[in-house]
Amino acid sequence: MSTTRQGGRRLGLRARLLVVAVFVVLIWAVVYPNLVVVGESVKGDGAITFGHYAEYFQTPSELRALWSSVWISIATVLLSALIGVPLAFLFARYEFPGRRVLGALAAMPVLLPPLVGVIAILFLYGESGIATRSLQAFLGLEEAPWRLRGAGAILAVHAYSMYVYFYLFTLAGLARLDPAVHEAAASLGAGRFRTLTRVTLPLLTPTMAGAALLTFMTSMASFSAPYVLGGGFRVMTTQIFNSKLQGETSMAMVETVMLAAVSLMVLWPLSRWEGSREYVAPGKGTRAARRPVRSRWATIGVPTIAGLGVVLLLLPHLTLVLVSLVPDGSWTTQTLPPEYSLENYAQLFGDARTFRPIVNSLLMASAATVIAVALALAVGQLVVRWRVKGRGLLEAMLALPWALPGTVLAIALATTFSVNQPWVGRIVLVGTAWILVLAYTLRVLPLTGRAALAGFRQLDPSLEEAAASLGAGAWRTLRRVTIPGLLPAIAVGASLAFVTGLGEFVASIVLYTHRTRPISIEILSQLRDFDLGTAAAYGVLLMVLVAAAFTFGQRWIQGGSEPG
């Protein structure tokens, strides 16, 4: 089984070359930079030293950041579950007017790339945000009723953007359950509560573990929220960025290794447990019946609560659109902006200086998507069709960038590709657009990889055999059968990859130069200049592009789109 064969046929020379090339590229791009970071973290004066680690564990601020990252992530998981799971049950189990529309809208936070979500919330609930000022005016307060700063603010933003994982996972999990199981419980005398606690929830645990894992990893990797809202409150990602900024290279290396280590330590056991049990409904089974809400207060109450909840979830989007229409500098102390116009959009596309980041992002995201799709397809062919030796390693390398926070990846690339030592595979890429393309490619590789592998696995090999038996050669089979069959999966993976690259912030902030700055960086600098309207207009542009890509790709995303 493990020999390099396809249908009993040995691989030809070109195929063998492809296998070698794929291994070399992935090891060089995915694994090697991380090893360089580990190497740098133990590099002393000409000898290996663990001194930097000793220093790390003796510095209270470092340990505080470590602990902050962990507890924020755990709290994010709990809070996200608390919002997402009941919401999913509400939409999956009850029938009420507007259910379909509200249910779809409840997933809307996925449309906001991390940084855009943060600034939208800032415009809404920040010290001079619309909601904050409204409440201040309403209550006649001297000061803002709250400050959107520190751990609480980070947690709020995390819960807002990550409950969607629990919501979508639970919806999907509930849809997979055999409704007859609930009826069986009822016929055995179990009431609603007992059925929930003894049957439904235990059956959903693998699903929940998946959502918890994704949320935890995303939260550990989160940079935008702590960076913008953290203030003095540091988590590991912002700590790394800070050390890098201040030139404490060795410490940045140790911090990077620590962040990667913590992430992998959680990922390993949880993902194994998640995959170990999966309950799927057998055969047809009746479709799960949604309970119509019957009692009078509930017929009004449930849609109202669901509607209010969804409005609350959509307020950031609406705020972003509103602020994008505000001419820069016109909104100062008023609760609501006094003027509206389309001038920000006109400027965005009219001014070469503000248009540049859009072009940069589009080009770099496109390049990264193309490379990542090509690599993923090659790996899919190697792993699924040719079943080459070391296919487990290939799959793992494809998924590794998902396990490593974007900050880790960026530091690794910045370190590895800042010196020119071609004999050990290191060339200078820092300062060019290629380092960003490489970073984006690695960040989206898990998305295209998962899509391509799923596509290959769903593609019945007998289709290709049928084509061959009808006289089609390898090339015609590929063009007429394999590629068309893979197209839906490729479309999903590519659209996810593209939008992720488009809004990328975490790695960009470490690797950009003025010439290569992407949209996210420009948003940040516009914000620094208090050009809120322009920043928001960029945000709306990203939001619209994300929505378009999702509509093009698939109805739901399932999985890690953008830890950041």
Partner: protein
Amino acid sequence: MSGSSFLELDRLTRSFAGTAAVYELSIDVAEHEIVTLLGPSGCGKTTTLRMIAGFEHPDSGCVVLEGRNITGTPPQKRGFGMVFQHYALFPHLSVGANVSFGLETAGYSKSETRERVASALDLVRLPGIEDRSVGSLSGGQQQRVALARALAPEPRVLLLDEPLSNLDAALREQTRRELRSLVKEIGITTVYVTHDQEEAFDLSDRIAVMRSGRLDQLGPAEELYHRPATDFVATFLGRAGAVDGTVAGPAEGGSVPCALAGPVVWPALLPGSKSAVAEGENVRILARPEALTFVSTGADGALRGRVVDRRFAGSVYVYTVSVGGGELEVQADGEAASPGDDVGVQPRNAPAGIFAFSRAQTAAG
């Protein structure tokens, strides 16, 4: 037949999206009786079972248990055991935990629960597998565990939704015999849903044949077979050929003379509900293969036809004969004729096995 009605369905009606899945369905089930709801897919039999279980609420009509209207009682309060088509065993629980699930709220002590689980598993001949996971069981074992789970709380009524449809043919036949003897041994009142006529014959005390949400006929298998109330029942249970005919005289003693092509006159049974047909009325004549025999083409009262097909059916042959106004099937020992032969066909023992349905009430006419 249903003198002491234990479970009573009274004019149950249930529509989905404006289409009646079940319409004005009334069935009485006596205590200890096994009644099968039999019909093609989409006839409303599963919907009916789910209304009995309480998973579907009828639009109108009621479910009555021992004189008490339980239409509004939720499923968990009905105390009915149910075996689902795909068994719906809880995949995260062991076999023992599955079987004890229905006992947990009954307030049994731990040892009592253990005993009951053990005896339920004994009952289905799977003793001592409490600790196995349900995923490790074969299809037949899962089916029996599902039965044990349903029976453990000693339900008042047992509901079975095509429980054998996922078993392979040999196992299915063996299991249905065991199922009947088990259910009869416990004496539990049972409603069984299937689309398989043989299964219904094997298992049931009485069979309710359903079509398009309505009850065509309710009775013991023999009655359904020998005195079908509709042409649908006649063709759904057992084989029957069909020819056109005309009523040629007054009905007498449940049968009526019918003129077929020829003209040949055969007496045919009238469905019980239809006491009279008008002379000259067009009827559809259905005849069981075993009720007909070959005679010489010139014989008195013989219907002339041509053999178009011959099927070997074990101990006998069944011939398809094209006759004026339709096609008949004739059962005969040995090779009585070959395809292409001209033959005469006659009833063996008229009117047994020959049924007349007026055109107005036939489904396929």
